[in-house]
């Protein structure tokens, strides 16, 4: 099956960009209207973290969507989805440092090393920096083949990200495990024999 539609090719990236930015006014509106639960700081931390994860999962979905369905616009938005994910990671971090911990650096560093999930989240965020930076010109050209190698780091990053989520919740909360399953699925279908099987007769370059 190959999806081709010129109008969709044009509008798809625009729609994706708008959709990726919408959570910001949505968050501000909810904050303004008092819709962020009794603990608005926690709610905004959780929400920005979740959006960052969703965008990262979507980033990893682009290639399979192309290889399985032949939907080429998916490849065009892959890089920006990753960049938007990084944007929400930055927001997530900024809210924690400012609203939650009031720039108390000593408290922040103690907590960082006290909480395995926080340390893991921090490392995940740091690992995203080189990917975010090199996703813009002139880096893709300058790095050539190494660009692709570097960006394979995202497979590690997403596993760390989901683990960060799992470690942060109380026992009995199953949602992060559902994200883990989805993530493992997205990684699994990249294994060459499975990928070849799924792309079937399309024989598209991955």
């Amino acid at each position: 099956m190959i999806i081709k539609n010129k109008r969709l090719d044009y509008w798809f990236p625009i729609l994706v960009n708008v959709a990726c930015l919408l959570p910001i006014p949505w968050l501000l509106l909810d904050a303004w209207r008092g819709n962020l639960t009794a603990d608005p700081i926690r709610a905004s931390i959780l929400r920005t973290g979740k959006i960052a994860l969703v965008l990262l999962v979507l980033t990893l979905s682009c290639t399979p969507i192309y290889t399985i369905f032949g939907f080429k616009p998916a490849l065009k938005v892959r890089r920006s989805l990753g960049d938007y994910s990084f944007l929400y990671v930055c927001l997530h971090f900024a809210i924690i440092v400012s609203l939650d911990f009031g720039f108390n650096l000593q408290l922040i560093s103690t907590e960082l090393f006290n909480r395995p999930y926080a340390l893991l989240g921090f490392i995940t965020g740091l690992l995203l920096i080189p990917l975010a930076v090199t996703s813009f010109a002139p880096w893709p050209k300058r790095l050539g083949k190494n660009w692709k190698r570097l960006h394979r780091l995202v497979y590690v990053i997403i596993i760390l990200d989901v683990t960060h989520f799992i470690l942060s919740v109380k026992q009995g909360v199953i949602e992060p495990y559902l994200w883990l399953i989805l993530t493992l699925f997205l990684l699994l279908i990249r294994i060459p024999p499975i990928r070849r099987f799924l792309s079937g007769s399309l024989s598209l370059p991955s």
Binding site: I24, L27, L28, A31, W32, G34, L36, T37, A38, D39, P40, I41, R42, S44, C90, L91, A94, I95, S98, L99, D100, F101, G102, F103, N104, L107, T110, E111, N114, R115, P116, Y117, A118, L167, S168, K170, Q171, G172, V173, I174, E175
Partner: protein
């Protein structure tokens, strides 16, 4: 209890201050977005005794004994950890709306001289008193709640524990039909909690049947729940149907789920971290920023003698 005219305790300015505070949080989010430096210490909101859906919250005072304001009725009733209904704290109020709390009876049995089953109405003979307690959740947030209820020791005195009784085991209702998550296998229902007998007999330990002068809302554990203010919130079991005096340390639901994370005692202790997060600080609902967690949640003077000589790192 002193009756306060709602118009007297809810000036519009105060009632809007929460909105204002949340609005200012929003502004800071925006500032963070622009990666601009923003001011960390925003003013804290004041507790608003805001009438909600025809209910006028009533409390004899507006602060706890440390001078910290009461958490609003709205927040106490719409931010609930009640895993029988949902793991989403905001969803509980709605999901619990149809939970039947009448008729209701509590069996008090085990190692007692006078085992009895009380109809919930008959517990009214234990005169309800207002207790303003801090509630510290193991997740790192806290509230100040004006409960009404009676000390558990009044009930235990009536059934007379035998000398063999060492612990009290509490069991919550098992009702998978109305409690959607009890059908899930991730935790072993029903909810079970326990106290050492001397903890249960302590005057701070109450059975609560109301808050803010109202009957206990369903999402907060109606019709009757335990409140042990110096322990993490999950020890304060909701919707109790059975209280048993036993000679062994009960295995609670959370001990069974994660024994290395949730101990039998689970006393609020800033020096003993949860394996996955620090317990040194907490966020008071309605405030921006964090405050230091107090030993035994600020009830050290009253309860520390219960644990004299114990290693609280081991008996967490």
């Amino acid at each position: 209890m002193i009756k306060i005219d709602p118009s007297e305790i809810t000036p519009k300015r105060l009632y809007l201050s929460r909105r204002q505070f949340i609005g200012s949080s929003g502004a800071v989010v925006a500032a963070a977005l622009a990666l601009a430096a923003c001011k960390g210490n925003l003013p804290t909101s004041e507790a608003a005794l805001t009438p909600v859906a025809g209910i006028t919250p009533q409390a004899s005072t507006s602060t706890d004994e440390l001078g910290d304001p009461l958490t609003s009725f709205e927040d106490i009733t719409h931010y609930n950890n009640y895993y029988e209904f949902s793991t989403n704290k905001e969803a509980v109020a709605k999901l619990a709306a149809d939970f039947p709390t009448s008729p209701w009876s509590i069996e008090v049995s085990g190692l007692v001289n006078n085992p009895r089953t009380y109809l919930i109405e008959s517990l009214q003979k234990f005169e309800a008193e207002e207790r303003i307690y801090r509630l510290r959740c193991v997740e790192g947030w806290s509230m100040v709640i004006p409960w009404s209820g009676f000390p558990l020791h009044k009930l235990l005195d009536e059934v007379q524990p035998t000398p063999q009784a060492k612990y009290v085991q509490f069991t919550a209702i098992n009702d998978p039909k109305t409690m959607p998550l009890q059908g899930s296998a991730s935790l072993s229902w029903p909810y079970v909690e326990g106290l050492r007998l001397d903890e249960a007999m302590h005057d701070l330990t109450i059975l609560a049947t109301g808050l803010y002068g109202q009957p206990l809302p369903k999402q907060d554990g109606a019709p009757i729940r335990l409140v042990v203010p110096w322990k993490y919130g999950f020890k304060s079991i909701k919707a109790i149907v059975k209280i048993e005096l036993v000679d062994y340390q009960p295995v609670t639901l959370w001990m069974q789920a994660a024994p290395d994370e949730y101990g039998f005692y689970s006393n609020v202790n800033p020096n003993v971290d949860h394996p996955r997060w620090s317990q040194a600080t907490e966020r008071r609902i309605g405030e921006v920023g964090r405050r230091n967690t107090l030993m035994f949640n600020g009830y050290e003077k009253e309860v520390a003698p219960l644990y004299a000589g114990m290693d609280l790192n081991k008996d967490f």
